[in-house]
Each structure stands twice: as C-alpha cells, then as structure tokens.
Symmetry: C2
Subunit: 404 residues, 2 copies
C-alpha cells in the first residue's frame, strides 16, 4: 500500500464513496447490455443526438409562438458552450426564412459611400472568431418580484454561449466612410417586425461583429441566419438578428425596444434607457431547482458565470444560505464575455442546505444579492436582473427555487 | 478627409476592392428580398440549421457502410470548432444503439477493487472540460502515394475539434487501486467488433479523460455515446468509443488495430507500432481543391493547424510553391492539442499560384514536406501522414489538389 500507484481507500472516501461505492463488482465481467456482434448504424452525412437525450428549450404555451422566449436547458449543460440547437431564443415576429443568396446588408445614412453587401462579399473579408455569451436583457426577470421559475432553465435560461465568426463592423464602417457628424448606428433586422436598435457609433467602431458563423458552421436561423450583429457584452436584444440594414445617424431612433421595452423604470418613476451592458452574473446549474440528489455523499456543485465587462475573476459558493463562502474552481482559459464553468466538490449529509454562487469580474464588480439590487432599482422593471440565485436542497435531496 | 472617422479610399483598396466594390448602391434602400410583414417560424424546442446549408460528411459508396470513414467538410469550416453533426467518423462495425441507463464502464484486471460504474456515477464525479482535436491515424493517408483527394474534405477531413467534458481517468484508477505490476490499460468499446486498443498506464494516469459531454451536450452516438476514452494528442483510433471496459494488464494486447492496422511499415520492412502521437499539421481550407475564386482581388487565406504535442506556435504560408513563406495571423487563445485557425490577406492577381501552410508547434517541431516524410518513412504505410498540403490556384481561379 505504500506504492504511489496503489492509493488507499481514503482516496475513494475523499472523492465520494456513495458515487461509486455501489458499483463494486461481484462479477467483474458483467458488462453492458449491448448485444455482442450486432452490427450498428452506418456512417452518416449529418449526425443527430441520441434519441435517449431529451433536453429541449422551454417556452410558455401561447397562441402566438412567433413572439416570446425559449429558454436553454442550463440544468443539462456541460462545459462552457451551448449547442446551437439549444441556444436560447427571443423573437418578436418569428424566424424569417431567408435565402442567403438573396440577402444583403445595406450600410447607408450619414456615410460617404453607401454599400450593399452580399453575404459572399462579407465572407471574403478578414474574419474574426470569438467565444461569446449572449444574454437576453430580460433574463431572470421573474426574480425581481415573484421568483416563480421552478428550475434554472425557466429562471435563468435566456443566456447561451457560442463560438461566433464574422467580420469586424469597424472594417465595414471604414469602407463606407462615416460622416463626421454621425454618432449612432441604427441596426435593423429582416424579420417581419423589422426590429431596430440604436447603437452608439463608439461601440460599433470598438468590438462589434457582423457574424455569419456559429459553433463551426453557419449561424442557425433562430440566431439570425445569415447575418447577425454582435455587440460583445451588451443585452441580447441589441445583437440584431437577420441583420439587413445599418443606418448611420446623428441621433438614436428611440425604437420600441429601447423605450417601451428594454429600459429600466426606476423607483422614482424615471426610466434608465440605453442600459446596454449585462453585468456579472452566475448561477448554479447542478444541483438546481427540480432536480433530486439520489442520496447523501459527495457531489460536484457546478454552474456558469459570465460578465459583459470582461473575464470572470472569482466565483464563490455558499452552502449555508450566504453565511460563509468558499472559492470554486474556474475552468481555464477564462475568456472575456464568455461562460466560465465553475466547480466545487461538496458533501450532502442529508441536512437542508441553501446554496448559491457569487461572481466577481475582472473590473472588481461583485454580483449583488437580490435585496441589494431591489434597494437601488426597485421592482418596476423586469430587465437586467443579475442577483444571486439561491436553491434549497431539502433533507430528501429535492432541490427547490427559494427566496432567501 | 483628415477626420480619423473618415478613412480614405486607400483603406478599401487595402482590404480588397473587388470584394465590396461591386456593391456600391444606386438605391441605398434596395434591401433584401424578404417580404415585409410576413410572420416567421415559431420558437422551437431543438433547432436545426437552415435548409440552404448543405455541408455534409463524405464517405465512399460501399456495400458495408457500417465500416469505414466519413470526412468532415473542412472547406466549409469557420472558427475553431467542428459542429458535432459534422465531426468525422471512423467506425469498424457501425454505431451501436446504447441505452445510457443500461451502459456500464467496468474497470478490472490487475486492480485491488474492480468497479462497474453507471454513467450517472461518472457524471457525479469531479469533471474536466477541454477543447481538443481528434484526428484519425489514417488521415491524409492518400497523400503518401496517389494524392488523389480532390478537395480538403476528402484529403484532410478525418480531423475535428470539439469541447469535451468528462472525468479524469487517473481519478478512476486511484479508486480501483492499480496493482504495482500493471503497466497497460486495455480499452474496449461496446461496438459489435468490440474494438480494443492498448494504452500505456503512464498515459492513462497523465491526461486521459472519460468523456460524456461534447460541445455542451451529451456525446453524439457517432462519437461514442454515452462514454468515450480521450487520449489527448493520440491517434483517433486509441480514443475508444462506446467505452465499456478498461482492463489493467502487464502487457499490451497486440490487438488488430495496433498490429495489422495503425502501425507504420517502414522501408526496411520493419513496422513501427504504438506510434500514438499525432504530430504537428496544418492545411489551408480556403481556397482549397474544388473551389473557385470568383475573380481577382483580395481574399483571406485561412486554414487549420494542430499538434498532438501541444500548442501551435507559428503557421507560415507560401503562395509561390514553397519558395517564400510569410507568417499567418493565429487565432487566440491558442489551446494545446486544439484547432488553431490561421488567416492571411492575399491578393489574387490572375496568375497561377501554388499555396500551402506549414505549422510549427511549441516543441519546435516543424511540419515537414511530403518529400521529407517519404525520405524517412517510405510509402509502405498509409498512416500518420502530416506533410504540407499544396493547392494550385489556376489563372481562372479554380483550385486543384496538386503534387508539388
């Protein structure tokens, strides 16, 4: 037992006996149930997931399924990327069916040389790839008041992370020659409602992308195929899908989605508008509401953290309702404005536990409690909630969404 | 014209006038062909790609499609990840249809405490996520002699890159208590042929993973659902899919796929076996064989580089058949044993050009020419080809696979 290749039983106990302790074999060769010798399925052109995998986006039943949100199943997430098929959706007039050969991006308004670009023109230009999170400005909106989301999907699921590829918008703006008095870019989508948002020129010239690729292939239709505006760190709604027009102006458009919607009505009755940046946030995805731990023993607590301001610097976890906090292990590399997976071994001893995570980003910003948020912003607004999320693990192992 | 926001026309010329020059608008508001006001497709549970996207894996027509290879469409790749649906395949007896609730991983042989683990047991343990390339040991095998692959898919397409999530194999080996005399791990899949490979214990204890996650969801069936052995940097065949048995032994198994196959028959008639590591390699994916440049002007040359030994340090590109080389821009972060996308602006002036890329990894290893490889290894073997790939761009813009 002194040989370093023969670790003692303590190692098993350290890791979580319950997880594997039931697995000791009477017959070591008792293998899986697959029939030996039965030939499998042939090689295929475009693969599918296993029929045993059931994770799907969730949306409310409605008579107008073309408008609304569908939530990513964060409770089933592994790693740091969201499968394109499960990326959250937020549409205002459905997903347009666009032939990329017919689609054009027009850049016009206060420019010297207006341009109409085919998708093929854009793909020919110098390209950029980055892994980046997108979060709906209304994600976790239910947490402001009712705290009704029974699970992490329905409460925090309007956030996803993909690898995006496209062209720097600043490159295109150099091509058209922005006039000196221009200060805004009005981005318009080709969906039925022609959704529009006003983007300050400074952001457009900084790190904005015109994306045509997602997770190694073309953008998915639900994510803006064939072209999407990406504004790193800014609320999802400003990342205009099915992008077909960028108009340079000297004033904001004051569109519906930046005045009536996606603005923050404060306790004094005044509204904050153009609150674009999504601040640091995190949530534990396992264990989370609706799940049940199969017994006592060791588990890995895990979840996701992100910040519209840059890298995640630290994630702390409480298992006693916020009295004490310990640092979780962070997945590396920690990319700016991307999901950072965090992990912490934890032993469930059968006593009630109240767990939550708290993210700090590279600017030093610390994710607030719900109470701290409400103290400043009140509860008139349903947007930009980034408070901590507490889950209660009950003595029988069931996990619930609770207000703490 | 002195305002920094009003770059001169030189910028356009620098970037490639032909790419966008045809797009100047007579009517700036001539937008895309989408009908305004037509309501789109509703929100959905599990998304699909656009019907306009046609990229698929390619395989030879055969009467036994359960065995063979299907090649990833690298010519359509963007960024650094391969969509799970397009990850290359190499199966020996088809894809088994496995119910994860019935599947077990047995660790036995020269161990103190044999274990049979359910998938759920494994998912409960401390997890690891890494982006990692997988390459078939036979990738580019046709380049040794015939150079028959007409495009990058059929010549270099047995390589793909995913984000994988799983458990460290060393953790499981600590649990079972490896006996002091054990030196090999025999990994066996649950496919019909029970494919087996021998893995040195040192590798198993170093960085091997038991993966259950791929690109944010469960492994795809074609990639080993529900469990796959991952050996970072080692030929694809050793990364045993549908993993159901790990047996500790004091000798290699000398399985079919490490003796008759996946070994390198040298010019002197002796075979190198257990040549696991895939060395540094790169290939230009655009422009590549079978494509056609639509005209002269500026383009972005781009492709993928990877190494089984670690990070890519440098990629150089030639456009004159190897006489001169210039450094390409590398996507950051450069992750070890992962795709690194490289990019270089290049002007096609209508004259014939012969292009290739050459990768250097962090160990200082430089991707060889085909001739350098053959001088050492001869042409008896069809495995482990990592020579440079030359494409000829003809005066009309068509691109061909040529021997240079």
């Amino acid at each position: 037992m002194k040989n370093s290749k023969r670790p003692s039983r303590r190692q098993l106990l350290k890791m979580g006996a319950a997880a594997v302790g039931g697995g000791l074999l009477a017959q070591p060769k008792a293998l899986a149930a697959e029939s030996p010798g039965k030939l499998g399925i042939p090689l295929g052109p475009y693969g599918e997931r296993s029929p045993y995998e059931k994770a799907v986006r969730w949306r409310r039943d409605t008579k107008t399924p073309e408008t609304g949100s569908s939530f990513s199943p964060l409770q089933d997430s592994v790693g740091t990327l969201t499968p394109s098929s499960l990326h959250y959706e937020r549409h205002h007039a459905g997903i347009p069916f666009i032939d990329p050969a017919q689609h054009r991006l027009v850049i016009h308004g206060m420019v010297d040389r207006p341009l109409s670009l085919a998708v093929a023109d854009i793909k020919r230009l110098p390209s950029i790839t980055r892994i980046m999170v997108l979060e709906c400005g209304g994600n976790s909106g239910s947490e402001w008041t009712a705290i009704t989301g029974p699970d992490v999907q329905r409460s925090y699921g309007l956030v996803s992370c993909s690898e995006w590829t496209g062209v720097s918008l600043s490159l295109l703006l150099k091509e058209v020659g922005v006039k000196p008095d221009a200060s805004w870019v009005i981005a318009e989508g080709a969906d039925a409602c022609r959704m529009e948002r006003s983007v300050p020129l400074a952001k457009a010239l900084d790190d904005a992308l015109i994306a045509y690729g997602q997770n190694g292939e073309a953008l998915r239709p639900a994510q803006g195929y064939p072209l999407r505006l990406l504004l790193p760190g800014w609320e999802g709604n400003t990342n205009v899908k099915w992008l077909h027009s960028l108009k340079l102006t000297d004033q904001a458009y004051m569109a519906r989605d930046e005045t009536a919607k996606y603005s923050d009505l404060m306790p004094d009755g005044k509204a904050r508008i153009f609150t674009y940046r999504m601040e640091a946030k995190s949530v534990i995805t396992f264990p989370s509401g609706g799940q049940k731990l199969p017994g006592t023993g060791l588990y890995e607590l895990t979840g996701l953290a992100w910040s519209g301001s840059g890298r995640i610097e630290r994630v702390e976890i409480t298992t006693d309702g916020g009295k004490s906090w310990v640092a979780a292990k962070l997945h590396e590399p920690r990319l700016p404005i991307a999901f950072t997976r965090f992990r912490l071994p934890w032993r469930f001893d059968g006593r009630e536990a109240v767990i939550a995570s708290r993210a700090t980003d590279e600017t030093g910003y610390v994710q607030p409690t719900r109470e701290e948020l409400i103290a400043v912003r009140g509860t008139n607004s349903g947007y930009h909630f980034n408070g901590m999320k507490f889950w209660k693990i009950q003595t029988d192992g069931t996990v619930r969404n609770v207000e703490v």
